[in-house]
C-alpha cells in the first residue's frame, strides 16, 4: 500500500475512533479524558515537508473540532506538536541511521527509549496546551497540573496498548 493512501486511511480512522469511541466513554474521573487521536501526527513520515506537516496537522485537528463543535480547540495543539516534532526528532536520533533508512517514527526505527521519550514529551505538550486554552487561565493550579498529568498518563497507556496490538513493520525506505 502506498504511503499516502495509508496515511489517508489512518486520518479517517483516528478521527472516528476518537469521537465515536473515546469521547463517548462516561468520564472515569474529572482529571481524566482519554485522548489518542494526536498519535496520527506522531506517526507521519520522517521526510515530510515541514510546511505540509503543519497544514496536515491543522486540518486533522480541525476535522475533530467539527465533531466536538469547538472550532480551533484541537487544531491549535496539533499544530504546536507538529511544529516541535522535527526539532525533537533531530535531537533524539542519530542523523545518518534511522531517518535515512526508515519511513516513519516507531519503536523499531528509533529504539524503545528514544521513541518513548518522543511520545512522552509530545503528548505532555499537547495536553498542557489543550487544557490551557480550554481554561484560558490557570485557575486552580493543582487542578490544572493534575488534569494534564492524569490525561497524559492515560494517553501513554493507550499508546503502549496500540504499539503492542499493531506491530507496525519498520519498513525500510525503498529507493
Amino acid at each position: 500500500m502506498s504511503n499516502l493512501l495509508k496515511n489517508i486511511i489512518r486520518f479517517v480512522l483516528f478521527i472516528l475512533f476518537q469521537w465515536y469511541i473515546l469521547d463517548q466513554i462516561p468520564p472515569l474521573h474529572r482529571f481524566i479524558v482519554p485522548y489518542l487521536y494526536f498519535l496520527y501526527i506522531l506517526w507521519l513520515p520522517f521526510n515530510m515537508n515541514r510546511f505540509l506537516l503543519l497544514v496536515v496537522a491543522f486540518l486533522f485537528g480541525l476535522s475533530l473540532d467539527f465533531f466536538t463543535g469547538t472550532y480551533g480547540l484541537h487544531a491549535a495543539p496539533c499544530v504546536l506538536i507538529a511544529y516541535i516534532r522535527p526539532f525533537l526528532l533531530n535531537l533524539l536520533i542519530p542523523k545518518d541511521t534511522a531517518e535515512q533508512s526508515y519511513v516513519e517514527p516507531g519503536r523499531k526505527s528509533m529504539g524503545w527509549a528514544p521513541y518513548a521519550l518522543y511520545v512522552g514529551i509530545l503528548s505532555f505538550v499537547h495536553h498542557f496546551y489543550l487544557v490551557l486554552i480550554e481554561w484560558l487561565q490557570f485557575g486552580n493550579f493543582v487542578y490544572f497540573i493534575g488534569k494534564v498529568a492524569g490525561t497524559t498518563a492515560i494517553s501513554l497507556l493507550m499508546i503502549l496498548l496500540v504499539e503492542m496490538l499493531f506491530a507496525r513493520t519498520g519498513r525500510h525506505r525503498t529507493n
Binding site: 468520564p27 466536538t68 463543535g69 480550554e134
Partner: protein
C-alpha cells in the same frame, strides 16, 4: 524588497506555524459569539448525517433503559387523562374542551416538541448536544430543552434539520433556578470541573437549605417553564465574606445517556425578551 522575500523564505515554517495558531485561536474565541459562522451550519449538516447513522446503531444498546423511561412516563401521563376521573353523580356531564383557545381566556403558552439526540459530549469544558430537529420543524434559537428527568440546556444554533443545544455542562450556561422549599432564587452554572455536579449561586443566606433539597426552574426565566426539575442539593458551602450560599447540585438528568429530549417552545418568548431588552428612552 528582496530582503523581505528572503526573510519570509527563511522563516516560512515558523511564520506558517504562527499563522495557523492565530487562525485556531481566533476561531476558538469567536465560536461562542458567531454561531452563524458561514461554515458552522454546513458542517453541522455533514457531521449530523454521520452522527445519525452511528446513533441509530448505538440505540440498540439503550433500548431497555429507554423503554423503562417511556413506560414510566406513559403511566404518569395516563394517570392524568380526564377519562380516569368519574363524577360522583351523573346529573352533570364532563366534557373535555378541544379548542385551542378556551372560553375562559386561557391560552397555550408552552408547546413541547420531541427530538432525538444524535450526538452528545460531556468531557470538554464546553459541551454541546445535537438533536435531529431543526428550523424546518419549528426549532428556534433560545428555546429551552428538557429530558424526562429534568432540564438539559438551551438551543444555540439551528440548521434546517438539526440543531445544537448548549448543555448545562457548558461554562457559559446560566439558568435561573429556585429552591422548591421557599422559592429563594439563584442561578445554575457549571464550573467546568466535574460533570456529575452543577453549581447553584446567589442563594440568599436567609434560606434554610439542607442537603437533599429539590431545585426547580424559577418563575423568572423567559424560556424555561417554571417548576421543572433540575436536581437536588448535594453539598452546601458558605463563605463568611459573602451573603450568599454556593450550593453543589446533583442534576436529575443523566447527561451521559440522553437519547430523547423535549424542546420547549414559549409562544410569548419574543414579546417578553424584547420588553426586557428595551432600555427606557427617557428615564
Amino acid at each position: 524588497m528582496k530582503n523581505i522575500f528572503l526573510f519570509i523564505r527563511k522563516y516560512l515554517t515558523f511564520l506558517s506555524f504562527l499563522l495557523l495558531q492565530v487562525i485556531a485561536i481566533v476561531l476558538l474565541s469567536n465560536a461562542s459569539k458567531t454561531h452563524q459562522a458561514f461554515f458552522a451550519s454546513a458542517a453541522n449538516e455533514v457531521t449530523g448525517g454521520i452522527n445519525k447513522r452511528y446513533s441509530g446503531f448505538r440505540d440498540y444498546f439503550g433500548l431497555k433503559e429507554n423503554n423503562r423511561i417511556l413506560a414510566e412516563e406513559n403511566a404518569r401521563l395516563r394517570n392524568m387523562l380526564a377519562s380516569n376521573f368519574v363524577a360522583p353523580d351523573n346529573s352533570k356531564q364532563h366534557f373535555v374542551d378541544s379548542l385551542v383557545k378556551d372560553t375562559l381566556g386561557r391560552y397555550r403558552k408552552y408547546t413541547w416538541l420531541p427530538a432525538k439526540v444524535v450526538s452528545n459530549s460531556y468531557t470538554l469544558q464546553s459541551n454541546f448536544i445535537m438533536v435531529e430537529r431543526g428550523s424546518d420543524q419549528g426549532v428556534k434559537k433560545g428555546m429551552a430543552v428538557a429530558s424526562p428527568h429534568g432540564i438539559v440546556g438551551v438551543v444555540v444554533e439551528t440548521a434546517p434539520n438539526y440543531s445544537k443545544i448548549m448543555s448545562l455542562l457548558h461554562r457559559n450556561s446560566k439558568v435561573s433556578a429556585m429552591l422548591k422549599k421557599d422559592n429563594s432564587a439563584g442561578s445554575i452554572e457549571w464550573d467546568g470541573t466535574d460533570p456529575n455536579y452543577l453549581t447553584l449561586r446567589n442563594v440568599t443566606k436567609g434560606a434554610k437549605v439542607i442537603k437533599g433539597d429539590t431545585v426547580l426552574t424559577s418563575t423568572y426565566s423567559a424560556n424555561f417553564p417554571s417548576q421543572l426539575m433540575i436536581g437536588t442539593v448535594a453539598e452546601i458551602s458558605s463563605e463568611s465574606s459573602s451573603n450568599f450560599y454556593t450550593l453543589k447540585i446533583r442534576p436529575s438528568t443523566n447527561f451521559f445517556s440522553i437519547q430523547y429530549v423535549y424542546i420547549i417552545e414559549n409562544s410569548r418568548f419574543v414579546e417578553q425578551t424584547q420588553l426586557e431588552n428595551n432600555t427606557p428612552k427617557n428615564p
